[in-house]
């Protein structure tokens, strides 16, 4: 789960991270009031769940309360389109108004879980800023890495060497080590999956201040952090994706016209690849978790039937030990009875209870195109989606 910048800064300040003074506003009036209290120049930052805000005009300076009100007025309520939001953009419902900080130098620091070593890893660069991904891809900046481990004792000497490699010496090294120690504690205690500070400003006065923070929390650990679960911004998750999550489904909306349903992420990805190879355009990715029951699955089919762009649905199921084919057939039958919409349905059923699933579909009166293998099913779905158009 991704949380907003203002939420992440608030959480990490408790672990000793320096963040600019500021507060979040939902109206122009509030933005002006915060700027007045702060005094001096401020920065007004759109709070959305996507990067690339700076270039898209989502982060703007203001030299006082009147300017802050004006900037907030331009941002609030609009859809901000950045390189990461997709063409529709994301609606700006809040802005963060912060004291403007002049950086002598900008650095980059991130903590994440390194799948290879199975440990918490620290990544850092002596240069930060908006272009870091592109610069790293072109090999223009050096990224330092250090496996931290999850234990309570971070390796002090290695961390100090890491910090010095970022160009932070003497008193600054001490400050950098304390910062990393705080971040590591936060990462472990809050069950984070990512904390990224970019840029981390080094000010003329010699302090390290986090100008921007991206933070993600492990969805699987939210059960033990109810206070963090409450940070979820449901406005920023598409209604369909939210609905899917509640029903044990992984759903990602795409921009094509063929709905995809598969059981298992691997089979779902294979189906997506095959549909694209058959020159089809997927409308979504949907993987049914083994814990979903037929009513959950019916809700999933409902999402596909409710998507006006859908012209055909491709259902690729290999029944396993935890979820036989008939559970999915039953979900489809229920969804079709509830929905008035009739679409071409192409199914490929194999494995556990495939025949029983076929008879279930027949009993429900579902008219389906039953295909013997995945490739035939994908090709059929493409042909039928074009026929209907």
């Amino acid at each position: 789960m991704r949380i907003h910048e203002f939420q992440a800064k608030h959480l990490l300040a408790r672990y000793g991270l320096n963040v600019p003074a500021g507060s979040v506003a939902i109206s122009t009036g509030e933005a002006g009031d915060i700027a007045r209290e702060l005094g001096g120049p401020v920065v007004v930052k759109a709070q959305i769940h996507a990067g690339g805000r700076q270039r898209a005009g989502g982060i703007q300076p203001a030299d006082g309360p009147a300017a802050a009100r004006a900037v907030a007025g331009r941002l609030l309520g609009t859809s901000l389109v950045t390189a990461q939001t997709g063409p529709g953009g994301q609606k700006v419902r809040r802005v963060l108004v912060e004291a403007a900080i002049a950086a002598e130098r900008e650095l980059h620091i991130a903590l994440l879980i390194d799948t290879s070593s199975g440990e918490v890893m620290l990544i850092g660069s002596a240069r930060g800023g908006v272009d870091i991904e592109e610069q790293a891809a072109r090999g223009e900046i050096r990224l330092n890495r250090l496996v931290l481990g999850s234990g309570s004792e971070a390796r002090a000497q290695e961390v100090a060497a890491f910090v010095m490699a970022l160009g932070l010496e003497g008193a600054l090294c001490e400050q950098g080590c304390a910062l990393i120690d705080g971040l590591r504690r936060a990462f472990v205690e809050l069950d984070a999956s990512l904390i990224e500070i970019n840029p981390l400003a080094l000010t003329a006065a010699g302090s390290l201040v986090a100008l921007d923070v991206k933070m993600m929390l492990d969805d699987n650990a939210l059960f033990r952090h109810p206070e963090l679960a409450a940070l979820r911004d449901e406005d920023d998750t598409s209604a369909a994706e939210l609905q899917a999550q509640r029903h044990q489904l992984n759903y990602v909306q795409l921009d094509g016209n063929i709905g995809i349903v598969a059981n298992g992420a691997g089979l779902g990805l294979a189906t997506l690849d095959m549909l694209v190879a058959a020159k089809g355009r997927p409308a979504n990715f949907m993987d049914i978790r083994t814990t979903a029951n037929s009513l959950d699955i019916a809700q999933g089919f409902r999402l596909l039937l409710d998507n006006p762009a859908t012209r055909a649905i491709l259902i690729n199921v290999h029944g396993g030990g935890m979820q036989p084919c008939d559970t999915i057939a039953e979900g489809l039958g229920i969804a079709l009875r509830r929905s008035g919409r009739s679409l071409p349905l192409v199914v490929r059923l194999a494995g556990n209870n495939a025949d029983f699933a076929r008879s279930r579909l027949q009993n429900f009166g579902c008219a389906v195109v039953d295909c013997p293998d995945m490739w035939t099913a994908a090709s059929q779905a493409v042909a039928l989606s074009q026929k209907g158009a």
């Binding site: 990067g51 650990a221 396993g320």
Partner: protein
């Protein structure tokens, strides 16, 4: 000798008295797996499925002589169950539980260091040795004893590949799911090592997907060994929109690797045959074995060094 699991394997089930444990232990026993008991804290001394239940795995292991365990414990306590099994020096632990917190798995990984346990999973469908036994939750009926070893990150694709291999007139030696979570026990590389070393396995199928670096690590290993056994791979996720998963955080992209094209390139460079599409995996395996049969035996043995 199959890998990981044979007729002598004696299995304990952690979390046997729950719904999933009860159901799948019964299926495992029907398949011929030797299950010798269960562990559920607080239920020690009872009998379940006509098997003794223990409070602690160390006691259960001592009294039953078990050398493997399967974990059905719910996510909140699954890591503790795995760590308990590791501390009891259980040689093999298979964890089926899904949605375990990632940092819990980091703790499990550190408990594994220097220990004697091989952990499979979590979020794994387990291990199947056709005709011998299953230590997992996969459906059976489509498999057939044979020489194709299968290593996978996905349960559903494993079922698919098993069915295609059988349809191609072949059979499976061992199928193993390393698990779908980012941090897990045994990886593809080590499974590959064991299967290449297994006399019953004639070729190996790797089923990979976007994300992580396991396929790259398996490729790196293969590039450095000589084997006459063909390795075939299916990598899915070529058409998946990477930005939807990774674009939300620059650091994830910075950690590099993980896209399907990169994995395919690394595996091809290591001599792995890539199945052109998920529906062609059975055919690709059949071809690879047929071509290998054309190589003279002496040369083949030389390659085994």
């Amino acid at each position: 000798m199959a890998v990981f699991l044979n007729r002598e394997t004696r299995v304990l089930c952690q979390g046997m008295t729950g719904w999933a444990g009860t159901y799948h232990v019964a299926r495992m026993m029907e398949y011929g797996t030797q299950v010798v008991g269960g562990v559920t804290p607080g239920k020690g001394g009872r009998s379940h499925l006509n098997l003794p239940v223990y409070d602690r795995i160390a006691d259960a292991r001592r009294e039953t002589g078990a050398n493997a365990s399967i974990v059905f414990v719910p996510p909140a306590n699954a890591a503790a169950a795995m760590i308990e099994a590791i501390e009891a020096e259980m040689p093999l632990v298979v964890a089926v539980t899904e949605r375990i917190p990632t940092l819990d798995m980091v703790r499990v990984r550190s408990a594994l260091k220097g220990g004697r346990t091989t952990l499979v999973g979590a979020n794994s469908q387990g291990i199947l040795v056709p005709g011998v036994g299953k230590l997992g939750v996969m459906a059976t009926g489509g498999e057939r004893p044979g020489g194709v070893g299968i290593i996978s990150r996905s349960a559903s694709l494993t079922s698919e590949v098993v069915a295609q291999v059988t349809a191609a007139g072949l059979g499976q030696s061992t199928t193993i799911g390393v698990g779908g979570d980012p941090i897990h026990g045994i990886g593809m590389r080590e499974c590959l090592e064991r299967l290449l070393d297994d006399a019953d396995t004639e070729c190996v199928v790797l089923i990979g997907e976007i994300g992580g670096t396991e396929e790259e690590e398996a490729a790196e290993y293969l590039a450095g060994v000589r084997t006459s056994k063909p390795v075939i791979a299916l990598i899915v996720g070529l058409a998946a929109p990477l930005d939807r998963r990774m674009g939300h955080a620059g650091a994830l992209a910075l950690s590099g690797k993980g896209d399907a094209a990169g994995k395919i390139k690394a595996l091809e460079a290591a001599g792995v045959r890539i199945a052109p599409s998920a529906h062609l995996i059975g055919e690709t395996v059949r071809q690879a074995l047929a071509e290998r049969a054309g190589i003279p035996a002496i040369q083949r043995n030389a390659g085994m060094l």
